[in-house]
């Protein structure tokens, strides 16, 4: 693999982070002890003191994501994310690398549907330095034309790297495009070459002014620090940054329920094995049905003992890969399945088997052992994600932005545990089997396979 994966845009693998927080009843896992402050300028600050390694993770999540791309500027929020590593009034371009990588830390960022997050992990004696730097690029970003143009070329290469080059790259863009009718989630966060080329430096300044303000951000700090010292530094370097008096523009579009099932044919030039994706609309992440939808996805698709793996991949050998996902987003999510069809078989066979498994799920109560297994798998995977300070901070930031509740990192656990067989059946009936699907067939150009 290529070395540098930074300033990245997770397109399809958001599940890892979205699976939020949970604990097994049999397993004593301490909750994350969150401290919270709101500064006078509106900045939200969450911190977790933990001295188990001499490092500290710093993250800033801005409530602006790909859904906020300006009209005619698909991919802009992501392009902007790259530019946050360029010059400010007090830092040269790439100075963030000098303050992190050069001292044994690292940095990266990602643009999601609902948010853009910036993160660093550094030896803990550099915490003050990084708080200054995050404050500086929030307050005084100052990108020049040369840096802008060169970084735009990088983002175009990222587009080729993610969309044009991998055999299934185009499918990942098609899933959102075909799933949403009116919500801006339908536009690809990675953008396209023409709209990236249309972006200008004045777009960059406008976007920064509009969305990069302390009352639209949450700072998360996890690791080796003393609370009172952290609070003092946060006040000193971030507390004095003002914000415009204008309201922050929000996406207020509501995705309407689908009136009919939809079918799409999508193609790529090199698609050795056909694929078929199905999606169903689900409510906003903070809805009460989210935990049951997550458990439903786990029962169907998490691990080699899941129902769809057992049926499609193992027993019937119709597929080489199956993924099921409850993709929880701030405004509206997707319950989805993706089947990569084995050679010699058709997407139709895979689709038929998927329908049969969904029908079975709503027809018969889920055995207790299977329900427990799915919950335990979800819990253990969340726990593994929290081995590092950076992993914990990411869970907190995501919970704040997508679930509107940072404490969700702890309460999600109880909510998952409380899910019953009847809950799972009810939500699958309501949002999946009793609702309208969008089905996307993905094959090679010319319709082969």
């Amino acid at each position: 693999m290529i070395g540098a994966m930074r300033r990245r845009l997770p397109i399809f693998f958001l599940t890892l982070i979205l699976a939020n927080a949970a604990l097994a009843a049999k397993l004593a896992v301490p909750p994350i002890p969150l401290k919270h402050r709101t500064l006078a300028n509106g900045l939200q600050v969450y911190s977790v003191e933990d001295h188990s390694s001499p490092t500290v993770a710093i993250q800033v999540w801005y409530r602006v994501g790909s859904k906020n791309d300006p009209n005619g500027r698909s991919g802009f929020a992501h392009l902007f994310e790259h530019l946050m590593f360029k010059s400010t009034a007090h830092m040269k371009a790439e100075m963030m690398d000098r303050l992190t990588e050069d001292v044994g830390g690292f940095n990266n960022a990602s643009t999601r549907d609902d948010a853009t997050e910036y993160h660093e992990v550094v030896p803990s004696n550099y915490l003050e330095t990084l708080l200054w730097a995050e404050g500086d690029r929030l307050a005084t970003l100052n990108v020049n034309e040369e840096n802008f143009k060169s970084e735009r070329e990088v983002v175009k290469e990222e587009y080729r790297f993610r969309v044009l080059s991998p055999p299934y790259g185009r499918l990942f863009v098609a899933i959102d495009k075909d799933s949403f009718e009116v919500h801006p989630y339908k536009r690809p966060g990675i953008g396209n070459i023409a709209e990236l080329d249309a972006a200008t430096l004045s777009d960059v300044q406008a976007f920064h002014t509009t969305f990069y303000r302390p009352d639209n951000a949450v700072l998360v700090v996890v690791g080796d620090f003393e609370q009172s010292q952290l609070d003092g530094w946060v006040d000193k370097y971030l507390g004095g940054i003002g914000h415009p008096s204008s309201p922050i523009p929000r996406v207020t579009v509501t995705e309407p329920p689908r009136k009919a099932s939809k079918h799409f044919e999508e193609h790529g030039p090199t698609v050795p094995l056909a694929a078929v994706a199905s999606t169903w609309l689900i409510p906003e992440a903070r809805h009460k049905d989210s935990p049951a939808l997550s458990v439903a996805a786990a029962i169907l698709g998490l691990g080699q003992s899941s129902r769809l793996y057992t049926s499609l991949v193992y027993k019937k050998k119709l597929a080489v890969e199956v993924e099921v996902d409850a993709d929880l987003r701030e405004d509206a999510g997707l319950f989805s399945s993706l089947v990569i069809v084995a050679s010699g078989h058709s997407a139709k066979e895979g689709q038929k088997e998927l329908d049969a498994e969904l029908a079975k799920l709503v027809a018969k109560p889920i055995p207790a052992a299977e329900l427990d297994k799915a919950k335990t798998q979800l819990i253990a995977s969340i726990l593994r994600g929290r081995e590092t300070n950076d992993g914990k901070a990411g869970d907190i930031g995501n919970s704040f932005v997508v679930f509107h509740d940072a404490n969700g990192v702890n309460s999600w656990i109880d909510r998952l545990q409380a899910v019953t067989s009847a809950d799972v059946q009810r939500v699958v009936r309501k949002y999946v089997t009793g609702a309208k699907a969008a089905v996307i067939d993905y094959t090679a150009d010319g319709g082969a396979k």
Binding site: P54, T55, E157, D224, V271, P272, D372
Partner: protein, 478 residues
């Protein structure tokens, strides 16, 4: 949508109350926590290594067989990986489905496969379920059945997965690079095999590979996490104590590849419609036990590891030609490859190959300034420190030491070994190991790559994708 607001807020610049114009300096560094490995060798020869790490209730483990893909015949490429992957697909007492269900119900994950020098079963378990989870590891290592229908299923899946990899410029370039550097030698084939070599593998090959190499005196169990070493030793004794080596001495490791270094080549695979070109510049590198290991790491950190390395500076940051450029040494029992890899638009492939060559040459011709060397070393040290913050990372680091017979104490001298490398060491190393001709592999769309490739590399072998034969060192169908 709310995009119209943009126009109005343009003029509302945030009010700054922002005094400090230079970054505050760091405080004094804090002490690093170093891992303390314990070990014990069972009577049957199984070596057990444990690092206790408290915090979250997690334990990672790896049962490692010290033989991997290097030991398989070229026409059976993929044998080691297929054998290891089949372990979890059925034992004398449990079906594949029962194993998957049992492991997942415990909240554990189990994974098996082969590298060049090892075959492994790795486990990640909740600490209160560790002993129960380990039963599955012991069972699949000692009592696999290698049922015919499981072999056929996995082989078909692997062939399908290969058909995808062969359509992806980056992975295809790696397959080709192995042949170019190592020809028909032990590292020349693809670790996962080719569609043809996978078809050649018979059940007998698998059973023989397992019998010959899966034995306690050729195995190491490495465990890290929230568990006491004494508890692990007891579990290991209970689960593996009765494991016997099947007769005779353990087979010696595959002798070092003695074939003379193949001459460098420039190979272009014409993949019509490739969305991007993959460019690899490669040559033989170093063995893991080479005394110059740390010098190689520091050299590579300057050249191509990490965001601020020279390759990424020149190719991505300065010129916008790629999403990321980097290089690495693949340290193995013998000298694995050094390779620099970049994906770029087809039209830039030749330019990028030239830029990589230029940066490699600069490593040999000019000494690295201390102001560049110091931060690059810090990058390696930081990566190392973070890798041992997770249970699986700790297991990975300890496993490498055990696999190559290095002292476990090296985990605690890693940092000082890196710090001891000088600019002179780097230049001397670069001259000896990176100087002279390297091979170049480009996979992309020749219509867009154009004649530039023939102008820059008159000896380039241009092979259409449908003429490519990965089973042959010549790479071309006869």
């Amino acid at each position: 949508m709310s995009k119209r607001f943009l126009i109005f807020v343009l003029f509302l610049v945030p009010i700054l109350a922002f005094g400090q114009t230079t970054p505050p300096p760091p405080a004094a560094p804090r002490a690093v926590h170093l891992p303390q490995p314990s070990e014990k060798t069972l009577a049957n020869g199984l070596r057990v290594i444990v690092v206790e790490k408290t915090g979250l209730p997690l334990v990672a483990a790896r049962l490692m067989i010290k033989t991997g893909s290097e030991a398989e015949p070229d026409d059976r490429a993929g044998l080691a990986d297929l054998t290891a992957s089949l372990l979890t697909k059925g034992t004398k007492t449990k079906s594949a489905e029962e194993i998957a269900r049992g492991v997942e119900a415990l909240g554990a994950t189990i994974d098996s496969g082969a590298g060049w020098d090892d075959s492994y079963v790795s486990l990640s378990a909740l600490s209160n379920k560790f002993a129960e989870s380990m039963k599955y590891v012991a069972d699949v290592v000692m009592h696999p059945t290698f049922a015919k229908d499981e072999i056929d299923r996995l082989r078909d899946q692997n062939v399908d997965a290969l058909s995808v990899a062969l359509q992806s410029p980056a992975s295809l370039a790696n397959f080709v690079a192995a042949r170019v550097v190592y020809g028909g030698g032990p590292y020349g084939h693809n670790l996962g095999g080719t569609p043809q070599s996978l078809k050649n593998i018979q059940r007998d090959d698998i059973v023989r590979f397992h019998d010959a190499h899966y034995r306690p005196d050729n195995a190491v169990l490495v465990v890290a996490g929230d568990v006491k070493p004494s508890a692990v030793f007891t579990i290991a004794e209970t689960l593996f104590g009765a494991w016997k080596s099947s007769g005779g001495e353990a087979p010696p490791p595959v002798p070092p590849s003695s074939s003379p270094a193949a001459p460098s080549r420039v190979v272009v695979i014409d993949m019509p419609e490739a969305g991007q070109a993959a460019v690899i510049v490669t040559r033989p590198g170093l063995a893991r036990v080479d005394p110059l290991f740390s010098v190689a790491l520091v050299t590579n950190s300057v050249l191509g590891a990490g965001y601020s390395s020279r390759l990424n500076q020149e190719i991505r940051i300065k010129r916008g030609l790629s999403y990321g450029a980097g290089s690495s040494f693949d340290f193995r029992r013998d000298a694995g490859p050094f390779s620099a890899s970049v994906q770029t638009k087809n039209e830039s492939a030749v330019e990028v190959a030239g830029l990589i060559g230029g940066e490699v040459n600069r490593m040999t011709s000019t000494s690295v300034a201390e102001s560049e060397l110091t931060p690059r070393k810090a990058t390696i040290v930081g990566d190392f420190g973070r890798s041992i913050e997770t249970t699986s990372g700790l297991v990975g680091r300890m496993s490498v030491l055990a696999l190559y017979g290095l002292s476990l104490d090296k985990i605690n001298s890693y940092v000082s070994d890196i710090q001891a490398v000088s600019a002179g060491d780097v230049q001397q190393f670069s001259t000896a190991h990176l100087g002279g001709d390297a091979s170049i592999i480009i996979v992309g769309d020749m219509k867009k790559i154009g004649d530039a490739v023939k102008k820059s590399y008159p000896n380039a072998e241009i092979i259409p994708l449908d003429q490519l034969d990965l089973d042959s060192p010549a790479l071309r169908k006869k």
